[in-house]
């Protein structure tokens, strides 16, 4: 069961780690980090890349055989996001879109009203919509209801590295989800990623935690292991938390060390 693929619309992925490219110090480091991460799907901001340009980040993804997930980063209205998604579909020939509609530059938090509007329009238009959303269980449900192929709640603001600030909301979202739940934004280090998977996320999306690390390639490998470890732990079922100790060694049939009595 640990080998189940992550299914997003028609897409089936063995790796549950989705990468972003923003903040990479160089294309060379990015290429090695993506390879180390084992990712099969990587998101690219369509407003910052020209798909027809050679030698850019898209060429790197092509060379590595990684599927491109266009995103609508930098859009503040549903109208801009829909337009950007359509241009991306035309340029890249993919129905996949990571939908981002943010409210302001300071927090980069999603604007829930615009997001839902854009999601509805794009689903109607035949897109496989993966929305970057708040960690709001109600909004997550509404996004599913309009036909999104996954929901991607933030653990904390983009690039903050603050991890999952409200694990309880993640549990609520996962419990009610009929589509994959993917942590998007906030992961700072491997334990954040493992926690997301332990909480029942189907995958993790991250960029800054790797690209802005001192050693991006090493951190990418750490993230790959963290996704796998967290997923296995979720499937294995963790032990209940207890207030007092519970000895891990058996208390019966052990060697007698009482010097007053012989051991046989």
């Amino acid at each position: 069961m640990a080998d189940d693929p992550l299914v997003l619309g028609d897409l089936s992925l063995a790796s549950r780690l989705i990468m972003g490219t923003g903040g990479a110090p160089s294309l060379d480091v990015l290429e090695r980090a993506l390879t180390a991460s084992g990712t099969e799907l990587t998101t690219v901001a369509m407003r910052r890349v020209d798909p027809s340009a050679h030698g850019s980040v898209l060429s790197v993804l092509q060379r590595l055989g990684i599927r491109v997930l266009p995103n609508t980063a930098g859009c503040f209205t549903a109208g801009e996001a829909v337009l950007t998604a359509r241009l991306a579909r035309e340029a890249l020939g993919t129905d996949l879109v990571k939908l981002e509609v943010v409210a302001d530059e300071r927090t980069l938090l999603p604007d829930p009203v615009e997001l839902l509007d854009a999601a509805e329009t794009l689903v109607d238009d035949g897109f496989t919509v993966l929305p970057y959303t708040n960690d709001d269980p109600v909004l997550a449900r509404r996004l599913q209801d309009v036909g999104c192929a996954a929901v991607m709640p933030l653990g904390s603001p983009i690039g903050s590295g603050l991890g999952i600030r409200n694990p309880h909301n993640f549990q609520l979202i996962v419990e009610h989800a009929r589509v994959p739940v993917i942590l998007d934004a906030g992961a700072g280090t491997a334990s954040d990623v493992a926690l997301a998977m332990e909480l029942g996320c189907a995958g993790v999306m991250l960029a800054s935690a790797v690209t802005r690390a001192q050693e991006p390639v090493v951190m990418a490998e750490a993230m790959r292991h963290a996704v796998e470890a967290g997923r296995l732990a979720r499937l294995a079922g963790r032990i209940p938390k207890r207030h007092f100790a519970h000895p891990s060694s058996p208390t019966h049939g052990t060697a007698h060390l009482d010097p007053e009595r012989p051991a046989f």
Binding site: P25, L27, E31, V49, A53, H54, S56, R63
Partner: protein
């Protein structure tokens, strides 16, 4: 019938890198031709001209740091030599750089940079916000701290280009003012190029120094084609009226909520504000968003800029390489050398590039400082790019 021309060295591209290569080669007695429709143009017409080896330090770029420092150290003599020879000033200012932070997040980022600088043995001093503002009173009151780097200087790249052009002319470099259309390869050896006007330019060695266009020259075999891509940068120029002078007395830069902005004040009152970094192919349009972001961040850093005339908006293309470092020296194709891929550091690396290229053209060997930047480091990657 198309004309032809023969020389020891043919330099394709007359930007500052091509010009410095041609000048240094001619100084060593090599007959040199530069092919470029507009010599002295290119990215140098847009660049701000920061010589920022220390403040532009990044993790994983310590090898490049060595080359950057070597070139920065050459600048005083290089500028003096060019000025003496041509009468052109370069606007070389040893005024230093102040990198500041405006909030706690950016301050933490700057602290990390400071630690990396110290670990790399570089001179850089941490200042409190108040100390920063004593140095530069026009800075916003909210400045939380900064790094004073007196060793990061500036020049005016437009003057540099003009001076190099004059130096080339006085050294006898011949200019063929046309586009290079195709590299000429005869029997596994590069022997020249054909210009758009049909002229055949032949030479003992060909140096491809065409900046962001270096990856596009026809006739270059795939396995030696430099992996160079254009990275667009939008740059603004403001003017400081005399009544406000000096306004800023050194280069001021910051990371404002993750995006880089710098203000470079020239002696003549020009104030350069840059720069965006965009992977948009060959597009060089100036966009509302680009200008807005630069002015927004610059205004947050130095609120008084709103009073200054905005005199120019322009976009140029940095020649980006996969590891952000230049490609210098011989390629696997006999007779073809590269001097390209200087990315953010073309102006800074001009002196050391000229010296390294002159040495490799005369002796066949790169100097030690340039050896890690051989184009051959990408050859394995280029070969594995072939579709399976």
């Amino acid at each position: 019938m198309p004309s032809s021309r023969t020389s020891d060295v043919l330099v394709i591209g007359g930007g500052i890198i091509g010009l410095v290569t041609a000048w240094r080669a001619a100084q060593r007695g090599l007959t040199t031709v530069v092919v470029d429709p507009e010599p002295g143009g290119g990215a140098a017409q847009v660049a701000a001209g920061m010589l920022a080896a220390v403040t532009e330090l990044h993790y994983g770029e310590q090898t490049l740091l060595g080359l950057n420092l070597a070139s920065a150290a050459r600048y005083p003599d290089f500028a003096a030599e060019l000025t003496e020879l041509t009468g052109h000033g370069l606007g070389y200012r040893r005024c230093g750089t102040l990198a500041v932070a405006l909030d706690a997040d950016d301050r933490a980022h700057l602290r990390e940079l400071h630690a990396l600088q110290r670990d790399s043995g570089l001179a850089s001093e941490w200042l409190s916000g108040r100390e920063c503002r004593r140095l530069e009173p026009m800075l916003a009151p909210g400045v939380r701290g900064g790094l004073r780097v007196d060793g990061d200087h500036q020049i005016d790249p437009r003057r540099l280009a003009a001076a190099l052009l004059a130096a080339c002319e006085s050294a006898g470099v011949v200019f063929h003012r046309e586009w290079a259309e195709r590299l000429t390869v005869t029997g596994d050896r590069a022997v020249g190029c054909v210009a758009r006007d049909g002229t055949a330019l032949s030479a003992g060695r060909v140096v491809l120094a065409a900046g962001s266009l270096s990856g596009r020259l026809a006739g270059v075999p795939d396995d030696v084609l430099p992996p160079v891509r254009p990275v667009k940068g939008q740059v603004l120029r403001l003017t400081v009226p005399r009544r406000y002078a000096p306004f800023l007395s050194r280069t001021v830069r910051a990371v404002v909520r993750g995006s880089h902005v710098y203000l470079v004040p020239r002696v003549d009152g020009e104030l350069v504000v840059g720069a965006t970094s965009e992977e948009l192919g060959w597009d060089t349009t100036v966009t509302a968003g680009g200008v807005y972001e630069l002015l927004r961040d610059a205004h947050e850093l130095v609120p008084g800029i709103t009073e200054l005339p905005l005199t120019e908006t322009r976009a140029g293309l940095r020649p980006g390489s996969p590891d952000n470092a230049p490609l210098l020296g011989p390629t696997a194709l006999e007779g073809l050398l590269l001097a390209t891929g200087h990315f953010r550091n073309g102006v800074l690396l001009t002196p050391v590039t000229g010296d390294a290229m002159a040495q490799v053209l005369t002796t066949g060997e790169l100097p030690d400082v340039a050896r890690p930047f051989t184009p051959r480091r990408f050859r394995a990657a280029a070969l594995s790019e072939q579709p399976a």
